[in-house]
Assembly symmetry: C2
Homo-oligomer: 234 residues x 2
């Protein structure tokens, strides 16, 4: 890992906290030159425990850049595409479109050599990842969510603190969840069993943890269908 | 649900236990006629808690058939393709090829309206599911596995009983696992973080729970790469 400058920067977790967040790297001997970004906030304030490294080619090749906080538009960092990435620290959420819109991708620590490592298996394939941000509330050890049968926190309810690859196997009546309250941590909810299909990332520090209708699950949500959900790991 | 005949049949969990397993259904008013299979073992022995319903069209349309145990070749049940399915009871493993070979798909209770609900997001897309069997040892509440850094149960080891969408976030040194011993339950291991990429299903009642090299993880395994793993839910 080459020496890097300017890592002590303000870290803000919200989608609007994209200031002074890009950490340029010197060119690597075995890599194409790294894009150099202006430092707009050189204040030596503590950084958070988040770090993600992006590449514009598959298998961690090509242009390379590290980030320690959110980015609303990768094209403003002279990236046309993100084709591989490594999450070095923390949990992140990636989005199909700029401005934190479109399909959501859970990005936990590890190596993602191609788009198919983070994207869902949906019929509507998404190879693009155009914006991203840290998931500050992710807490694998202490996560809690209440599921409600109907929208607006009505009907039968069930408080859970563990991962469930099949809600129906645990006694949930059907393939839908009407609304949810995130009490602790951050959760990834999925359209199909086994953590497949569309992902919806719900956080205790967004909307006050309240998600009273599928319209609040994300700009790509279109139905109440949720068949599995799990804690997100920091 | 129409009345069904012949559900009291021997249930065998191994890939070779495919006898008297197919449960034909009478035609449904709103469906194409159901293929009728011969009952080769009508003995009234107790059935297991497994049931899966297959359809040869997407969205639970077309030819329909229920199974309560394994099937080595769907074409022998006059299915050319499985295009949607519902897991009504128990956990199952689906395979890309006949004879329990090729990519593995974890099938837990719930609805799978298209192939992309069970298949991985891999570059090598698999729309086929040609054989399947129950996962008898799945036990969400009591599952335990030991990971070893190197093949043949050598190197550092780590015993876990919870799901880990990122092994590296929990302190595992790299993106590989050398060998594994399944002590209780059944586990799904994945190439990428967040339960993505190739799946390898490891069971306490197969190989004595011992998986000493990636060659034993499945006929599709080619590397030691594993970045997430989780319990399979019965």
């Amino acid at each position: 890992m080459p020496a890097r400058a300017g890592r002590r920067q303000a870290l803000s977790c919200g989608p609007l906290g994209d200031r002074a967040t890009r950490v340029p790297l010197p060119p690597l001997p075995d890599s194409t030159p790294v894009a150099r970004m202006a430092q707009t906030n050189p204040l030596p304030v503590p950084t958070g425990p988040w770090k993600i490294t992006l590449y514009d080619q598959e298998n961690f090749q090509g242009k390379r850049m590290e980030f320690t906080t959110s980015c609303a538009n990768i094209m403003e960092c002279s990236f046309d595409n993100i084709r591989s990435l490594k999450v070095d620290c923390g949990a992140w959420i990636g989005y199909e479109h700029t401005g934190f819109c479109g399909q959501q991708f859970t990005l936990e620590r590890g190596e993602y050599p191609r788009w198919d490592a983070w994207s869902g298996s949906n019929a509507y394939h998404v190879e693009r990842l155009m914006s991203f941000r840290p998931i500050c509330s992710a807490n694998h050890k202490e996560s809690k969510i209440t599921l409600f049968e109907k929208e607006n926190f009505l009907g039968r309810q069930w408080e859970i603190g563990d991962d469930y690859p099949s809600l129906q196997a645990m006694g949930w009546a059907n393939n839908e969840v009407g609304s949810m309250k995130v009490l602790c941590g951050a959760w990834a909810c999925y359209q199909y069993p086994g953590y497949r299909g569309y992902q919806y990332i719900l956080e205790s520090d967004h909307h006050g943890g309240d998600y009273k209708h599928w319209r609040e699950w994300g700009s790509h949500a279109q139905t109440f269908q949720i068949q599995s959900l799990r804690r997100i790991q920091q």
